[in-house]
């Protein structure tokens, strides 16, 4: 079994700044050496996914979730409930122990801003038509359909049916991931600097991109082929590294200068929030490979690894 410890043992070093959290890993600030990979055991991930998107409200509401109360200090010190990035990101801390339902919970609480951007902004929908991409292929409904299929795959008892559903949903998520990546790629259109894409719309676009990556990863994981899963994680890691992210100052300026009905302070807070969520999401995807290494070194099969973590008492673990 994979060796693990409890992050609480390391909190003093986190508080002193010697250790920092990046995505799902703890690392030594000075050397960059990875200390361990954070994992939710039991139903911690599921409970975390029910928190509100506002960190202040999240902390206030944590009393509703007894298992989170027990590890509240750990969660706070690691900024897993105190930062807007952590509470709003649809990405998990590595493989979702709670199942894809935790990603789905967050996705469904997000406001649907992108669909209206795609249909109402002429420059975008013309571009998609030229590329032969149906707007419907990027719609929220399409994403929900894929997530529902994935959740169905988790519940079916037939192994054959499970793998079949996982394969088809992996294929759907892959297609959506490619489309969203294209929109973020700035090849023919720049969503970062074009004020026709609202900040909420940009947030929705990035979140759906992340959700597609998470969906594809999870579906691939469910297929049970470790080699395939490892390759999927690697490709996604490369993909997010190559997203040409614009400097947030320029994103703000593009909208402060030309959009007339924004309060500039409110706009700045919105831009800051989007970047915090994006940075957290990308960090979690980037660090999935560390967990893959742990799983490989422990010679575990994917299903037994996840089932073992799910069966443990609800806590936050540090794979070491």
């Amino acid at each position: 079994m994979i060796p693990f410890e409890y992050p609480i043992e390391y909190l003093s070093k986190v508080m002193s700044g010697d250790y920092v959290r990046y995505g799902a890993i703890l690392k030594d600030q000075a050397t960059g050496q990875i200390v361990g990979h954070l994992k939710e055991a039991g139903s911690v991930g599921l409970e975390l996914s029910k928190l509100t998107f506002d960190p202040i409200s999240s902390i206030a509401s944590i009393g509703q979730y007894p298992m989170l109360m027990d590890i509240q200090n750990t969660l706070k010190t690691l900024e897993l409930i105190t930062s807007i990035g952590a509470v709003s990101s649809v990405a998990c801390l590595g493989v979702s122990v709670a199942g894809f339902v935790s990603v789905n919970n967050k996705l469904r609480r997000m406001e649907n801003k992108l669909d209206s951007v795609l249909t109402e902004v002429n420059s975008i929908n013309q571009l998609l038509k030229q590329r032969g991409i149906q707007i419907e292929a990027l719609s929220r409904q399409k994403l929900y359909a894929a997530t529902n299929e994935l959740q169905m795959a988790e519940k079916v008892t037939s192994e054959e049916e499970r793998i079949y559903l996982a394969r088809t949903s992996a294929s759907k998520f892959l297609e959506m991931k490619q489309h969203y990546n294209y929109l973020l790629s700035r090849e023919d259109y720049d969503p970062w600097l074009n004020e026709d894409v609202s900040i909420d719309g940009l947030n929705d676009l990035v979140s759906r991109f992340v959700a597609s990556i998470e969906g594809e990863s999870f579906a691939t994981y469910m297929i049970g082929d470790f080699g395939r899963y490892e390759e999927c994680v690697r490709i996604n890691q490369e993909m997010i590294k190559n997203v040409p992210i614009e400097d947030k100052i320029n994103v703000y300026r593009a909208r402060a200068n030309t959009s007339i009905f924004n309060d500039t302070k409110e706009l700045a807070e919105q831009v800051k929030g989007v970047y915090e969520v994006m940075n957290e999401s990308f960090a979690r995807i980037d660090t999935k490979s560390v967990e893959v290494d742990y799983i490989r070194k422990s010679n575990l099969k994917l299903p037994e690894y996840r089932d073992h973590l799910a069966s443990m008492d609800s806590d936050l673990l540090l794979l070491t």
Binding site: E120, V121, N122, S123, N194, E195, D196, S198, K248, I249, Y252, R253, A256, N257, T258, S259, I260, F261, N262, D263, T264, K265, L267, A268, E269, V271, K272
Partner: protein, 242 residues
């Protein structure tokens, strides 16, 4: 002049245009270009030239009022606020009172919004619809984005309630050249031209009439330039939060 008085005098002199200089030093190229347009000088990124042009325009107004050519930014702001105040009479701001430059700037922004609100609520539904169409057409011609155009229509279309809840800073585009002709048709010559950024759009009024209405060409430079300086501060405040 005694030593202490001399020090105080020097400090006052340095305060006079520090704000302007700081804002111009942090202005984007596009903002400097707009300042040059507003002040009717050749496009330049030489901040000292722009600063001088602003001093000249505002000093020209104030020298007649205060018989002094030494101008503080707050003095300029108070004069602009007095000019834009929608209701009769001056504002309560005084140079030596405890109000900050930012407080006077906020008042100026709210006066601009209030002027629009008053005019807008007096229009009939049909007249408002016609103005919305006119606005949409002008903004499309000027190449504004769909988001900006829809925001402008939504803003005007929301009527008094919408204008009341919109932050004054959001009115900044209404002083742009593109909006000048709309402003003139909406609000009549004097107020509309007060808000011109000096691009030349809508400058169809005879000069003598302008002088009588606005107190001279200097206001047509000082007011839009001051609104631009306020906009620069708002932008920088937002960037400070990022």
């Amino acid at each position: 002049m005694g030593y202490e008085v001399l020090i105080e005098h020097k400090l006052e002199q340095s305060k006079r245009m520090d704000t302007i200089k700081q804002r111009l030093e942090n202005a984007l190229d596009t903002e400097l270009a707009e300042m040059c347009q507003a002040l009717k000088i050749d496009k330049t990124d030489d901040i000292s030239k722009i600063e001088k042009a602003y001093q000249d325009a505002s000093g020209h107004i104030l020298s007649r009022k205060f018989m002094s050519v030494e101008v503080q930014y707050k003095q300029v702001l108070i004069d602009v606020a007095d000019k834009l105040k929608p209701s009769f009479g001056w504002t309560d701001f005084r140079l030596k009172d405890s109000s900050s430059e930012e407080e006077v700037e906020s008042a100026i922004e709210s006066f601009v919004a209030e002027r629009f609100r008053k005019k807008w609520t007096k229009l009939s539904a049909r007249e408002r619809k016609a103005k919305e169409q006119e606005l949409k057409s002008e903004l499309e011609k000027a190449g504004y984005s769909q988001t900006t155009i829809e925001g402008a229509i939504g803003f005007l279309g929301s009527g008094a309630a919408g204008i009341a809840v919109a932050a004054p800073v959001t009115m900044s585009v209404f002083y742009s050249g593109v909006m000048a002709s709309i402003s003139v048709s909406l609000f009549g010559m004097s107020t509309g031209l007060l808000l011109l950024s000096g691009t030349g759009v809508g400058l169809v009024v005879s000069v003598p009439l302008l002088v009588i209405l606005l107190g001279g060409n200097s206001y047509r430079k000082t007011i839009p330039a001051t609104l631009l300086l306020i906009r620069i501060r708002r932008r920088l405040e937002g960037e400070g939060l990022l």
